[in-house]
Amino acid sequence: MIAQKILRPALLNPFSGNVRMARITIGIADMKVSADPADILTTYCLGSCIGLALYDPVARVGGILHYMLPSDSINPLKGEKNPYMFGSTGIPRLFKACYQLGAEKKRLIIKVAGGGQVLDESGMFNIGKRNYAFLRKILWKNNVMIEAENIGGTMNRTMYLRLSDGQVKVKVSREEMVVL
């Protein structure tokens, strides 16, 4: 029995399923924004991290932040060096970067994926949960709401944002593709 090599879905367009295309990838502790309708922003490996996608349907501008931990208070120097490691330093930067491309706060559509965790009753390793709670808090303070989300559980996820119309898809643990 010889197993076939699995074609990495990265080579396929997650929205149309067949057209091969280039993508813009956001790594762990990373952020990217775009105003090019041909772009698809993708972030892989969302375990306990959070993928935050913003999109302005009028300006057709959007971005994704992939942060690891809630707050840079555990090590502000690291937050200065790479602000995208933390929600506290990364989230405001994602909003600002979108504004710079012409997005407006009142039009921004916010979608979230990630925040999973390993099975742990003690709560010691609930980084996913805390990452998400931090996001809710900061958004609430700033008077903006999450439009759709796919979070929690023991799943790992990949998140895609299509710049042409703002559609967000989430691939959950290699199987289902969910439209947010």
Binding site: I6, T25, I28, Y44, M68, V118, T154, N156, S173
Partner: protein
Amino acid sequence: MKHMDDILASIHDIPPFPQVVVKAMEIISNPNYLVNDLLGVIRLDQSITANILKLCNSAYFGLPRKVSSLKEAVVYLGTVQLRQVLLASGVKDIYDRPDKGYSYFDGELWQHAIACALMAQILFRHLRLPLEENSIFTAALLHDVGKVVLSTYVSREFADIERLVKEENLPFHDAERQVLGFDHAEMGGRLAELWEFPEIISVAIRFHHQPEKAPKPHRLLSELIALSDSLVLMLGCGTSVDGLSYTMPHSLVDKLKLKKNDIEILMLKFQEEMSNAREMIEIRDV
């Protein structure tokens, strides 16, 4: 239910440990070995040679400058590091076999293994654990090797395993045991025995999802590999259909009285080193 040894017996091509690596290890075990003898053996295998060069330039080994030829690599690395590079280059070939059950993409299981080795190294240094660095590296690298075999030979049972995980919220390794009678950790431990790795290695692999059950003399290494594995999974490095469906191993955390902050700081440290190494170990963001 298949018995683990039946599966092993029915497999005609249990991934053999690459002979070039075994031979090279033998050569360097002689303190007066000749570099040319070693090079002659390694060069027989192009893929091992390519792996060695990539690994030399990875964050794990952290050499101060880029190494571009095999000879340079051999001369530049100390014996301990050379042993590790050789081992890793052999393990890479095993992990890169095609896979069905777990749905890993090309090279992903290998990336998880090397990420786990890096995390284990960071924990070992920061927590000053009384362990031997070589064993840590070997065990971390090989901990999921059982998945390579399971993936191909029990691919049909995978649907049942996944269903148990989803519907009954069982940890993945428990579901494997319920369906197969053993889990990938046990299978990996058995492979390590077949390949004649020391007992501490096979024990650490076998108990990496239940380190509290590991026999005492080797328990600490099992605990370290278990914790490194979980942290790396949380960071999304090399998760697949099994996702994060594993029980968090608490024994080492409790023993060392680690706090949430300690864990987060270790994760940051890991991420920093990993991002330096990204292109070298072929973490392909694509």
